[in-house]
Symmetry: C2
Subunit: 242 residues, 2 copies
């Protein structure tokens, strides 16, 4: 029986030691389908999910995670990867989908307008923002946008570092869907950012444009794998009603 | 009755037009408590949540969101903010918590070791990674770490842009907890990155070190507020079992 959202969120704890109990790859895969249903910047889905079940690869990645027990004792791993280099391919996939959705003989005026707006978004606006050349074009755009921004509201995230942030942020949304879904079926996880990302990329044979978002270890929690009670900053220090 | 995780994830759609029906601020706030239970890099919780319920401020932020209908018709807004500038304060809060947890007369050897390791983590490792000066120190560390990394696995995310990514990624985890929790109680959301982040910071009077992660509009979906069927890249193009 799957947990409710609040139950799953309360249940999830970063798990640093797993028991020897195996977990079902298909259930983990289903949780990754849930991951892929997260919202994503401009629906570009600049993400990939590497589901590691091979013992040999698990061992290699554990070393790249500095042999921390969360990785070493994991039964499976999921490596969430950003692919900002795929922006044009993904934009084209969105355009193709729009062509299919609106492929009807008698489009209403509203539909015609919506199709045009959405298609322009992917054909013109996305390249304006994403097109870059060694980080230089992004900086030029950034400066121009700052000046225009003196006179009217404008989008400002055009530098290479901003593009990286956009991709990692969306991948984070997917990662959280994954971890909540795992908790809902009684599986445990630990998101790890402490890894040698260059070595992980080599192990998975990822291209230059790919970046490691996080590595999520998976298994069943051992009691000693939860390090003490949960600590959160008092809520009134992070929450402000305006 | 709250939805299960899979139900909530299936229900959530980015909602671009909301009905006039009001939503309950307290329920939204409770969903933000769930947001704050997301995992976060080194448990530093470099995030803040601005819950906008005042009509005057809603109107101002809608303009900074280029008057898009997802913002204009929203009943409330949540601005997720990153505060990487608070890393030292948050590290100290973790140290204080550790002191409280381990404040017992008869600590076992395992507890003593764990306390020492965790305290060292926040007192030594976190400053090594987070301490920066105008982005220069971060770059120097980055280069040194690349050289050390030739010989052994090492952490490589030390540049200013990497620090920004870490904070935005964790804030993304919290944002997704929030949106899933909203869906679970039948409330709708739309995460917006298209905004003039500088103007939003001015409206909320945020300090220089704060960054806008995303603005999430909230309300009840209008049928015409869901723009067509959901589009996802075929799963076998983003999922790889290794």
């Amino acid at each position: 029986m799957e947990k409710t959202v609040s139950e799953a969120i309360a249940y999830r704890r970063s798990t640093r030691v797993y028991t020897d109990e195996p977990i079902d790859s298909n259930k983990v895969k289903q949780c990754l389908v849930n991951a892929s249903l997260a919202p994503t910047s401009s629906n570009l889905q600049l993400w990939e999910f590497y589901h590691i079940t091979s013992k040999a690869v698990l061992d290699k990645i554990a070393i790249a995670c500095f042999d921390q027990s969360a990785a070493k004792t994991a039964k499976q791993l999921v490596v969430v990867v950003t692919r900002k280099d795929l922006w044009r391919k993904r934009a084209n996939a969105n355009i193709e989908f729009l062509n299919k959705v609106y492929d009807k003989p008698d489009l209403s005026e509203r539909d015609l307008k919506r199709k045009k707006m959405a298609t322009n978004y992917y054909k013109k606006l996305i390249p304006t923002i994403y097109l870059d050349f060694l980080g230089i074009l992004g900086y030029i755009k950034f400066l121009v946008f700052q000046i225009v921004g003196l006179f009217k509201p404008i989008y400002r995230q055009t530098r290479l570092s901003d593009m990286r942030i956009v991709a990692h942020k969306s991948a984070g949304l997917a990662a959280q869907n994954f971890m909540t879904s795992m908790a809902a079926v009684g599986y445990d996880t630990c998101p790890m950012e402490g890894s040698d990302t260059l070595r992980v990329k080599q192990i998975l044979d990822l291209p230059r444009g790919a970046e490691i978002n996080m590595i999520i270890s998976c298994g069943i929690r051992d009691d000693k794998g939860i390090y003490g009670p949960r600590f959160r900053i008092p809520f009134d220090e992070v929450y402000f009603e305006v």
